[in-house]
Each structure stands twice: as C-alpha cells, then as structure tokens.
C-alpha cells in the first residue's frame, strides 16, 4: 500500500473512490473525503515547504484554518494557479496539482536552508532592516534576491477563466460555525420560524463532532449531526452554507462570507458554475459559534516535521483514517491533549510517552490512558527535538511547578512524532472586527469576546465552554435570546444527552524552558509562518519594544497569512513575562478582517472587464464608433476625443478639425453636458443666490453664462442657464460636475432656504445635444428648419423652440468656440436622426465632426476656461480675470461673495490666469509646467504659477497657453520662464488669454 500511514478502516473517507493528485511533480493517491493535507500525511510526505526566513524544512502542523506551514500553490495550468491555499482546508479531487510555494531548488534540498542552520544568531529580528539598509542604492538588488529566496506563492500570469459572483443576503439569525453550539442554535432558530443562515468553513457540518468519539443520545455524535442537518435542510427559510468562511464582521451586523462552491470539484469550475461566491449579509442577529484553536507548545526545534498540534493528530486519525507517524510522544498542559495519545494507541501504533507538564494531573482522560498502560511522565516537558526533515527523537526533562526552568536530568526518547497541547484559544477574531476588545480570562487561559455594540451572541468554545454538553446548551440559549429579541416565539428543542467528561485544571505555560537560556537555546518557534522565535520576542522587548503592537511589527509575529492563529497567544505570554506584566496589561494585537485569505476573484465578483464600471454613451455613440472616433473618459461618459482619418496623426486630425470649424462648420456631440431643469416661483431668486452674476432680468428666450462658487469664494463649476418661462429655467453644468451641482442645489434648498418654492430635476439624459459651429453653421441649420434663424430673429445668447429635421428642438445660440454657433437639443431618441440629417446636408459645407480635444483648443484660442482644468478649487472669479461675471451689488449675499472678500482673497500677488505666448512659437509648453520670474535664481526657485492649458493652434500657426502667474493681470508683456525636467528653459510672454478675435466679431454675425 502506497498510503503507508492510512488505516484499514475508520474515518469519514470513501476508500472505494481513489483520487490521484500531484505534489511537486510526483503522483500520489488519496481518497474521496480527504483534504490535501490528510492525503499528504497518508502518503508519508513530511516536508511540505521551507520556512519564510530561515528556510527550515516544515511539515503539516494543524488540521484547519490555523495551519501556518502547509501553504500550497494549486493549479494544473498557468491560468488556474492559486497561491496561498491551506492544504488543511483544500479538499482533495481527482487530478489536483499542488506544489510547495518556496524552496530553491526544491523543498528537500534547499540552498537557503544553510542560512537557517548556520544562522542561529545571524538572523535576529530586524535582520533585514539592519543588514540591507545600506547603501540605499543597493536595495533593488537585495530585494530581488530576497524575494526569490522567500515568497509564499505566485499569482497566475494569465487571466482566471472562472467566474465569481456576489450575493446580498438578509436574515434574522446568522449562525457562524456548525459545531455542536452552532447546530443547536440554528436548530432552535429554524424551528421558531426565523430566517437563518448557517455557515461553516468545512465541507461537512459538525465541527469538532466530526473527529470526536463522543456519543449523543447514545449514538455516535456524527449521527446527531446528520439528523439536525437533515431537519435544517427541510426549512424554506434556512440557508445552509458549507465550505463558507465568515471572513469579516463589519458595522451594523454586516458580514461577508466567502463560499467556495467548486474548489473541491476540479481545477476549473464545471461549465456554467460559479467558482466562488461572496455573500454580503445583513443579519438582525449573529450567533458566533466559531470554536477554539489548540495552542501548540513552544519548545526547542518545535518546527521539525513531525511536530503537530495534539488535536490535529486526533483529527487525522479519527476523521481521515491517517496516523501521521509510528511512535508518538505527547506533551500537554491539560487533559484534552490526552485524546491524541488515546487515539494513536487505539489505532495500533506506539505511544512512547505522555509528558504532562503538571505535577499530579487527574481526570477521566488520564484514567483512560492509565487503563491502556500508557507511559505518563508528569511534572516534565519535551525540551528539545532531534532530527531535521523528520523528528527522530526528543529530550524530556522535569520542570519546575511554574514551568520556568528545567529541574532535573534529561531523558532521550526515540519517536517520529511530537504532539503538543498548550490549551485552547477561543476563536474571537470576528467578535473583534468591529472594534470590541477581548477580555483575558484566567480560568480559561485565553481571551474571550469583549463587550460589543453589535447584535451579537456567542456560544460554545468561543466562550471557553469546551464540553459538548455546554456548547449545545449555550447554542440553544443564544438562539432563544435572539428569537425573543426578534419578537418570535421560541419553539421547543430538546438537546441530546452527552457524556460529561471530568477534566482536571490546566497549567498555564506559554514557553517550555530549556537547559540553556532562551537566547542560546535552539530555536523555539512561536510563529511558524514568519519564523518568529521566543528568543526573537525577548530580544524585541530588550531592545525597548514594550507595546505588543510594536513587538508584533518588529518581529513580524502574526503578520503571515495565518495571522498568528496558532502563535499569537504564546507570543503575548512570552512578551508579558519578559516585560514583567500580566497578559491583560500587555494586551492583544487587533484582529482585522479577513479571518482567512480571500481570493481576488471573490472580491471582484462580476465587477470586472466590461462590468467594472458603468459606461455612459450618448445617443450618437454608434455613429462616432462607425466613424473612427478615438474616445476619452469624462466621468463615466465615453466622449469622442478626435476623429482621425486614415493615416492621420492625432495632431494632423486636430489641425484639420480646428481649421474646418473656423473656415466652414464643425459639429460636436455635447450631450454629456449636465442639464438641470429648475422650476418654481422662486427659481430666479435661487439662481441669483447660487451664481455669482445677476439673473433678475434674464428674459424668457434668453441665455446667460454663470459661474458657481463655494462659500469660500472659489469657482467650482460654470455653464449656461436659459430662461424657458418666467418660473422655468434649464441650467447646464460641466459634464463631470453634473451630479455634484445637482446635490449642491438640493443642499442649499433643503437646509438653508426651504421656504423658497423651487424644484430641481436632472434632465441630462433626456436630451441629445449637438453643437454646430463655424461661419456656415447658420446656413446649415436653416436647411433643416422652417424657423427663421437669421441674426435678427435668433440673436446671440437667444434660444428658441423650433422643428429641426422634422422633430421638436430647442436651439440655443451660444458659443464655446467664438464662432457663430448653434446648440441643437432634441429628445435623446431623435439624436442620431438629427445628427445624420445634419451630415446629409452638411457634406457640401465640409461639415467636420470634432471631439473634446478640438473643443479644448478652440475655446483656448478664445480664452474660455474649463472648470476643473483652469480652476482647481483655489481660484476665485477675479483670479480668472472674470470680474465681469460677478455682481457684488445683488441684494442677497450670493454664495461665494463673502468668501472672495476675505483678506487672503484680495492680496495683489495672487496667482491670476493669463495667456502665455512662448517666444519660440513652435514650442508647446507642457501643462503643469511651473513658471519662475528668474531662471537663474538659486534652487529651490520661487515658483509663480503653473500652465493649465496648452495647445498647438493651427488657426494661429503657433502655440498658445493659459496659466497662472503671480500678479499676472498687471504684468502684460512681461516674461515668465518655465524650466523643464529635461533642463531646457522655455521663455514665454504674458498676454491676454483671448488669442483670437478679441472683439468677438466672429460669433456676432
């Protein structure tokens, strides 16, 4: 038989279903029901990885989520690679491919391991900080070597072919953990009619009962588990989630559950199935029945493969039919540890000794061991381990009653397995996620959940209640409490009878003494995953790290992907002792989500690729795509950026678009402009309060440009608002600012001026907007409408309702290019029709579509600002040279008026927006370039303002720029210098930002 450690019978595995798996390129067999870890142990695989820092050989130590060593790389193909999988939680399937995540060239012959052997005192905590700090320039070199030598797996280089998703859930009671406490809680809640979710990280419900020989109602405990699970399955309002880890407990009883739906089936999810699902649960009540993790003991060379947690040994024997060795020594500080030796003995293998650290233990399990004539050595400890890739023997010595020192001579035992139990640590992680601090309990020798504001109850081992009977009872009690709080009537639940076990008192021992002082003794590991030793913690304390949070950061204790589930309490105990404090005084580090690692796939769910972020398209989007537009993102909008023709560079296209517009006619899709419909008898007054300029006299049929400022006086948006009726306006905003402006208006209406009668509605998407601009735009428009659009009938800054291309339209004669220009608004559904009609008639005028880039150039030629590009929240209208747009004499103190009158806002040397012409007209300044008055000034030179907009203007045959210059409005004709990153200095002259048609004659025709 190749599975040399497999028992002939027993366990919850199916021996009729043999599965083949690969580990580090070699094939092995296991059974249905195995985890990867149990199958590896069955095959006698001792070394499953190398340690993080010292590269020491490591083996499987635990049987659940707390496993620090067996962190595997999974995946049969590049695309299905998954790093960071605990072998103890991965169910075996046929064809599973796994590998160790580190070790070079292999885990069995590892070159870095030499360091681990030699480096007793060579690599103390802070080794990397202290050694690789200097010279700083070498860090990149060091880093690549260190990363290669260390590492805990790698991400795939190809896209994940599987799908993942997220589901929102609501329930009355979420029960976390399906051990005895969780099952009795779920049963009581379900019978009472509550909506229940029961989640457990394992493949089967039952928790500790699955690997227990206990009886309930005289039957094997696992039978009771089956009964209860079956009953729960029968309720419509009960959702059972196996293979589902509750990873995060967030505010207001919001919890996240990571469900692995197909990870146990194959390398790739079966067709049509979701691989993993993230449940986002809002629970009215949460019952934490998360159990406890057994603590290993800290002794010399306690990381040699073959050293395991006592309860894990029991679990492998009882649940998986695997005895992970031949000769066992058990060291324990408490009665529960004895179970491992009993199970080992009953499996027919040799128990060399039970080493009990207590002087005179007594209890039912000790009696059971005595009945089997097992060798019990009391008042002693395993102080050292021999062997490198597998335990070959141990040193046992008597220790003092307080566990602080070795008191007698050493006996050597020949064994290949060391099981240790230092007691249990309640799994309080979730209860701490919302900020509740755990409370140390001397009797339990562990932290228990502390006070919380969440609607949270706890039951079972999380409370330090370790007997099955107590766990069942607490589960029921918690459920009844939740049920009555929910206003439901608690249904009757008769708990099964369990057999009470008499347990003696445990001993508190976090650190097993050695003959030598800790610093000189062989390594005594506290945190296996990060190679933190007892000596390392002592050194950190000696070097002055007194806060447990600092000790954690200096030694990296608890920093691994296992988050110190096995080691943290031992580490805190050791730190407390050296600092001469109690554990409550030393405190604990803070537990944060997630409890176990969650894949990026589950976090992303469907929010990836095309569904990552919504995209907004205008009604004419299809036309833009068909006509070769390049797009840019404006908020969530996809806007045409420019329309290159075959063989054209971007600059070629811009030059063509700019010239065509000024020479004949161009067209822009302006649908993305924010549009807010404003109505009510106080609408006009409201506009006067939120805009800086005057609105009292704007007549029906007229449009006006306005600036919007914050209370600090700084510009944050602009746009044209038109008067549709005496009490009816439509406001336009920047494309990106629409939502913000809308909320701004509501804020002031609802909180400051609720007495005003005014209503706002966003109508951005209702309209398709197209702007035709250029000397031939009027001729073109007139061809599509019977309405007279002559200068006399539709003047500059007028708007009219008319039919355009046979559909109702609002036409605004406003201009952002400085040309004769019409903004045609039609119902969005008509947008494409009107757009195409314009092109039908526009061909003879060389109607040229242009995008946002040409729009930017054309407006810059006229010195028009773009809010958000030429403003940044620190400039007021006067800084922009836009005093014409402020009416300080309005009766109401409009928003921004008082702000822009502050002392700081009226300084003469404020940065002001001006035009800039480079002395060499061919040089285009980079946007963002910082100007100086004296390029020869010593560094750091006083900077006087930056370039906000800069383009090549084909119409002017030169570069143009806008930018801020200190006191710039009074410095026309003076020079500013722009020292660039490449060492060149560009000289520019301050001028008016209106580069073209300063009198505005082109738009006024």
């Amino acid at each position: 038989m190749t599975q040399k450690n497999r028992l002939q019978s027993g366990g919850r595995i199916d021996r009729s279903r043999t599965l083949t798996f690969t580990y580090n390129g070699k094939q092995y067999k296991g059974y249905q029901g195995d985890t990867l870890a149990s199958a590896m142990l069955a095959n006698g695989i001792d070394v499953i990885g190398r340690s993080f820092k010292y590269s020491r050989p490591r083996g499987i130590i635990a049987a659940g989520a707390e496993e620090p060593n067996a962190i595997m790389q999974l995946g049969a193909t590049e695309a299905t690679q998954v790093p960071n999988v605990r072998a103890t939680q991965q169910e075996l399937f046929d064809g599973l491919v796994s590998g160790a995540t580190n070790g070079w060239p292999s885990v069995d012959t590892d070159i870095m391991g030499v360091l681990g052997k030699v480096g007793g005192n060579m690599m103390p905590p802070g080794f990397y900080y202290k050694t690789f700090m200097y010279p700083q320039s070498m860090w990149d070199t060091y880093e690549s070597i260190i990363r290669k030598a260390a590492g805990l797996g790698r991400s795939p280089l190809e896209n994940d072919p599987d799908t993942y998703d997220k589901v929102n859930q609501h329930c009355d009671v979420l029960v976390v953990g399906a051990g005895p406490a969780g099952l009795s809680a779920a049963l009581a809640a379900a019978r009472s009619g509550a909506r229940v979710i029961l989640a457990d990280e394992q493949s089967e419900f039952g928790g500790s009962l699955l690997s227990s020989k206990e009886t309930l109602n005289g039957m094997p405990a696992s039978e009771w588990v089956s009964f209860v699970t079956e009953e729960l399955r029968g309720y419509d309002d009960v959702m059972l989630l196996p293979r589902s880890t509750v990873n995060g407990y967030h505010d207001h009883n919001f919890l996240t559950i990571h469900e692995r739906r197909t990870d146990h089936l194959a390398d790739l999810a079966p067709a049509g199935q979701v691989r993993q699902r993230l449940h986002r649960v809002r629970a009215k009540w949460v019952i934490l029945a998360t159990g406890a993790h057994e603590r290993p003991l800290v002794f010399a060379n306690n990381d040699v493969p073959g050293c395991m947690v006592a309860n894990a040994v029991s679990t492998y024997i009882t649940r998986y039919g695997v005895v992970p060795g031949n000769e066992l020594v058990l060291m324990t500080t408490n009665d529960s540890g004895y179970q491992a030796a009993l199970d080992w003995h009953d499996a027919g293998r040799k128990v060399a000794a039970i080493v009990d650290t207590r002087q005179s233990p007594s209890g039912d399990l000790i009696e059971a061991a005595r009945k089997r004539n097992l060798n019990i050595i009391t008042g002693s400890a395993v102080i050292d381990v021999q062997g490198s890739k597998r335990v070959s023997g141990v040193s046992v010595a008597p220790i003092s009653a307080d566990g602080s020192r070795v008191t007698g001579s050493v006996t050597k035992l020949s064994v290949d397995t060391v099981a240790s139990s230092g007691g249990w640590s309640p799994v309080i992680h979730l209860s701490c996620h919302t900020g509740s601090r755990p409370v140390w309990n001397e009797e339990v020798v562990g932290f228990l959940p502390g006070p919380t504001v969440q609607k949270q109850l706890t039951a079972g081992a999380i409370n330090g209640s370790y007997s099955t009977g107590k766990a069942l009872e607490e589960g029921l009690t918690a459920a009844v409490e939740a049920i009555s709080a929910l206003g439901l009537k608690a249904a009757e639940v008769v708990l099964p009878e369990s057999v009470d076990v008499n347990n003696g008192a445990p001993m508190t021992l976090f650190h097993v003494p050695h003959l030598k002082p800790t610093a000189k003794a062989p390594k005594q590991f506290v945190d296996y995953q990060n190679d933190v030793t007892a000596a390392g913690i002592e050194l950190a304390c000696r070097e002055g790290y007194e806060s447990i949070e600092h000790v954690k950061r200096y030694t990296a204790m608890g920093f691994g992907t296992d988050q110190g589930k096995l080691g943290n309490i031992n580490g805190m105990g050791i730190a407390a002792k050296i600092l001469n404090k109690s554990i409550p005084e030393t405190g604990t580090t803070i537990f944060r989500p997630n409890y176990t690692p969650v894949t990026f796939g589950a976090i992303a769910g469907r929010d990836c690729g095309a569904l990552f972020d919504p995209e907004r398209y205008t009604a004419m989007h299809k036309w833009h795509v068909e006509n070769g537009a390049k797009f840019e993102d404006v908020g969530q909008w996809k806007r045409p950026w420019y329309f290159p023709k075959a063989g054209e560079s971007m600059q070629d296209a811009l030059n063509r678009e700019c010239k065509a517009t000024r020479e004949s006619v161009g067209i822009l899709d302006a649908s993305t402009l924010g549009k807010i419909d404003i109505q009510g008898k106080d609408a006009r007054e409201f506009l006067g309060r939120v805009y800086t300029n005057a609105w009292a006299k704007l007549a029906v049929g007229k449009c006006r440009y306005g600036l919007m400022c914050g209370e600090d006086g700084m510009v944050f948006d602009d746009g044209v608002t038109s008067c549709l009726g005496e009490n009816h306006f439509v406001m336009t905003t920047t494309s990106g600012g629409a939502a913000r402006v809308y909320e701004w208006l509501e804020l002031y209406h609802q909180t400051e001026w609720p007495e005003m009668e005014v209503y706002f509605n966003t109508v951005t998407d209702h309209w398709a907007t197209m702007t035709i601009s250029g000397p031939n735009s009027r001729k073109l428009l007139q061809e599509l409408t019977d309405y007279d659009v002559s200068k006399e009938n539709l003047g500059f800054m007028d708007w009219r309702e008319m039919q355009v291309a046979g559909v109702p339209a609002r036409v605004f004669r406003i201009s952002f290019t400085g040309e004769l220009s019409f903004e045609i608004n039609v119902q969005a559904n008509y947008g494409l029709h009107v757009w195409e009609k314009l092109f039908e008639h526009g061909a003879k005028y060389n109607l040229t579509p242009y995008g946002t880039e040409t729009m930017h150039i054309l407006r810059a030629e006229k010195g028009f600002i773009i809010a958000g590009q030429d403003t940044d929240g620190s400039v007021h209208p006067y800084d922009l040279g836009m005093a014409w747009c402020v009416s300080p004499n309005k009766p109401f103190s409009f928003i921004g008026k008082r702000g822009m009158a502050r002392e700081d806002c009226v300084r003469p040397d404020r940065k002001q927006l001006v035009g800039l012409k480079t002395v060499d007209p061919n040089v285009v300044l980079p946007e963002g370039a910082q100007g100086v008055f004296d390029p020869k000034a010593p560094i750091p030179m006083p900077m006087v303002g930056h370039i906000t907009s800069s383009y090549w203007s084909a119409n002017l045959g030169r570069s143009i720029a806008m930018g801020f210059v200190k006191g710039g409005l009074d410095k026309m004709g003076e020079k500013v210098y722009y020292p660039l990153a490449d060492g060149k200095v560009v000289e520019a002259e301050i001028c008016s930002p209106i580069f073209l048609d300063p009198k505005g004659e082109r738009q006024n025709v």
């Binding site: 207001h252 919302t434 504001v453 209370e711 509501e746 609802q750 909180t751 103190s893 008082r898």
Partner: protein, 94 residues
C-alpha cells in the same frame, strides 16, 4: 458598512445609497457681510471631531435625494437617531 434608516423613505437602506455631508446644524450666517474674516473662517472651516456622539448631515443620494441629520457615535459607529432638517436631536452628548 452602515445600515441607515432614511427618515423620509421610512426604511433601512444600505450605506451605498447615502453620502455624508459633514457636520450638521451649521447655519449659514444670515448677514455674511457682517461677519469678520475670523467669524466667516470659523463658519467655513472649523468642524468638531468628537470621540463619541456627533451630529452629522447625510443625504439619501441614490434614493429620495433628501438631506437629513444623524446622531452617530464615532467610536462604536452606532447610529443613535436620524431626524429631519429643522428638527433638533433628542440624543445629545453630555
């Protein structure tokens, strides 16, 4: 993630539907011009940052779009009450 009762909708909704809008009960001075720079600066920039009860302004942005007030414990994140604009809190810090 918060679970917030909107006093206008009369329902609990997820935090994703809401925007926080800063400290509540900061009234715009009725005569801004009468304020000194210091007073205006205090109105504009100075906010409380209590450990404990805090009165906040929120808006049900992806819902009814109404603003409302919330009294929240900044330490435990408990929402003590929500109330409409113009109303006064019944839960206040001692």
């Amino acid at each position: 993630m918060f679970h917030i009762y909107c006093p206008h909708c009369g329902e609990y909704r997820e935090e994703e539907e809401f925007h926080p809008a800063g400290q509540a009960h900061i009234a715009r001075p009725l005569d801004p011009e009468a304020c000194s720079d210091k007073e205006w600066g205090e109105y504009l920039f100075f906010r409380k940052n209590p450990r404990g009860l805090h009165h906040e302004l929120w808006v049900h942005a992806a819902g009814c779009r109404k603003f409302f007030n919330m009294t929240r414990d900044t330490q435990t994140y408990e929402i003590k009450e929500v109330y409409k604009i113009g109303e006064q809190p019944s839960v206040v810090a001692e």
